[in-house]
């Protein structure tokens, strides 16, 4: 549905994107993960033709954004971190103006979407009086009109309260489940990506450091939180098993090692093992790991 090929971009001589390529398959929620300034928003900006690429190309359903911007964007709806509406107009008027740019404004369809996002009661109030959560719902409504096939979300849950985040997440997942909506979801909130996305691409300093399935990432290795003393014995065991220190008392071991073997070796070396807790490796661990690998190489 969305294909990004070798995107390059410089801002004031500094490389913001260093040849990023990845693909978002139809009906998939794809997370684009990276720290602030990694290049996620620049990538999204190029996909929406708001930023010109120095190299590379973006295809939406086979149509090049760079060559046929209007045609390519007909299938796209987008939401930004802080959606900026015309505050002096009502939500409904904002929808009419913005959706009107895509073609004809369908009254019935708009009413239906407004109801779905839960804004029916306040749609005729001025947007200036909306809370952040309401603005985000209005942004969702405008993105879903007239009828996009792919949604581009740029850190959409930033600033929302936990209830708002859950509502938003459920809404997007439902859209995918019910309508087969394709979603590209930009975020630095790892938990969000973990909860929502099927696939993930990780960007660091303008380069893609990982692309793959979220579940694969989570399950491919098991970690153990080990509390033992003396530390030098623990260290020697960690070195021997090829474990990796995450914190002072926490390390990861490759899946081929069984926890019993590690504990047996520690006890055999005279260490007192206080606690062994299996820890499912989080996306955060993976992100940090890939980021580190990328910076080392």
């Amino acid at each position: 549905m969305l294909r990004i090929e070798n995107l390059k971009k410089r801002f004031a001589g500094k490389k913001a994107l260093k040849g990023i390529s990845f693909e978002v398959k139809r009906g998939v929620i794809h997370g684009l993960l990276g720290h602030n300034g990694a290049g996620k928003s620049t990538t999204l900006g190029i996909v929406l033709a708001m930023i010109s690429a120095d190299g590379g190309e973006v295809f939406i359903d086979g149509v090049s954004v760079q060559k046929e911007q209007v045609k390519a964007l007909r299938k796209v709806g987008a939401i930004f971190e802080a959606p900026s509406f015309y505050d002096y107009m009502s939500g409904w008027e904002n929808l009419k103006v913005l959706v009107g740019l895509s073609g004809k404004f369908d009254h019935g369809q708009a009413l239906d979407i407004v109801e779905r996002v839960g804004l029916s009661d306040r749609i005729h109030s001025k947007v200036g009086a909306y809370s952040h959560g309401m603005r985000q719902r209005l942004a969702l409504a405008q993105a879903l009109l007239p009828e996009p096939e792919i949604l581009l979300l740029d850190e959409p849950t930033d600033g929302l309260d936990p209830e708002g985040i859950k509502w938003f997440r459920d809404f997007i997942v439902n859209l995918r489940n019910e309508r087969g909506m394709t979603v590209l979801f930009n975020s630095h909130l790892l938990s969000e990506v973990e909860l929502m996305c099927d696939r993930v691409s990780i960007i660091r300093e303008g380069a893609l450091v990982f692309e793959g399935d979220v579940n694969d990432l989570r399950d491919d290795r098991l970690g153990f939180k080990i509390s033992a003393e003396p530390i030098d014995v623990l260290k020697s065991v960690v070195d021997e098993f090829g474990g990796e220190w995450l914190t002072k008392s926490r390390c990861l071991f490759p899946p081929e090692h069984r926890v019993a073997n590690v504990v047996e070796r520690l006890v055999g070396a005279g260490a007192k093992v206080h606690e062994v807790t299996p820890v499912r490796r989080s996306l955060e661990d993976v992100y940090l790991e890939f980021s580190k690998e990328s910076s080392c190489s």
């Binding site: 620049t42 900006g45 971190e81 015309y86 740019l101």
Partner: protein, 280 residues
Amino acid sequence: MFLSQLRGELRKLFARRRTYLGYVVFIVFEVLILTLWVKVGRDKVAELAERNLIPMEQLYSSLTSTYWIMGGSMFLLGSIYFALVGGDIVAKESEDGNLRMVLSRPVSRLRVLLLKYFAVVIYTVTFVIFVGITGYGMSVLALGAGGGLFVWNPNLYILSVYPEWGEGFIRLFVGACFMGLSMCVVSSLAFFFSCFKMKPAAATIMALSVFFIDFVLQNMPFLRGVKHVFITYRMENWAYLLQEEIPWARIVESYTILSGLNISLFIVGWMVFQSRDFKT
């Protein structure tokens, strides 16, 4: 579809309070100038009429006072509001982030700019006509409906008298329409600067600076011989429509130049806008 999108753009423009600032100021100004015209101006006008052997009812009339309201104020006062609206139209949306929402839709940047430019042009022309209509309406309330039109423009060497209300009205109405076209140059200048990456206030000030510098230079005595090269001189040429013998060649020449300038400002502004990156 373009017309419905233009309606949307106009809806945005006229939903903002600051768009009406100029209307309010001009109504206050009209009340002020008419009050002075009635209270203080009558004797002066009578003196002028006697000296030039012109019947008093042609000088002291609603049409003549409308001419003074429009001709005397639009250039200096109106230009501020046209620059304000023109300077805001792109730069304010860019600053507020509204353009991200607009540009994420399947619409070309050229179309977005065309919609905004047409909205500004419509605002400018209708504003001038509004000032003409309200100015005339208030003049009728203050001075009565009858009387002719007396036109005096020392800068363009125009001195005309239209004793009949009908001819005076038509001349003034056509003149006002051309004045609206002239004022589009100020709006185009502000629009042009608005396409750059700058604050709306900066775009407004830049446009007004160019306009006033041109105006000041045009009025320098030693540059009188080359006055025709200045934009503001060309803009003033609407007044020739109030001259008894209308110099059509000069009017066509001036409005061709002004139209060319407007189109050039739009094209360069569009090229700048097209090359800009809008970070999400």
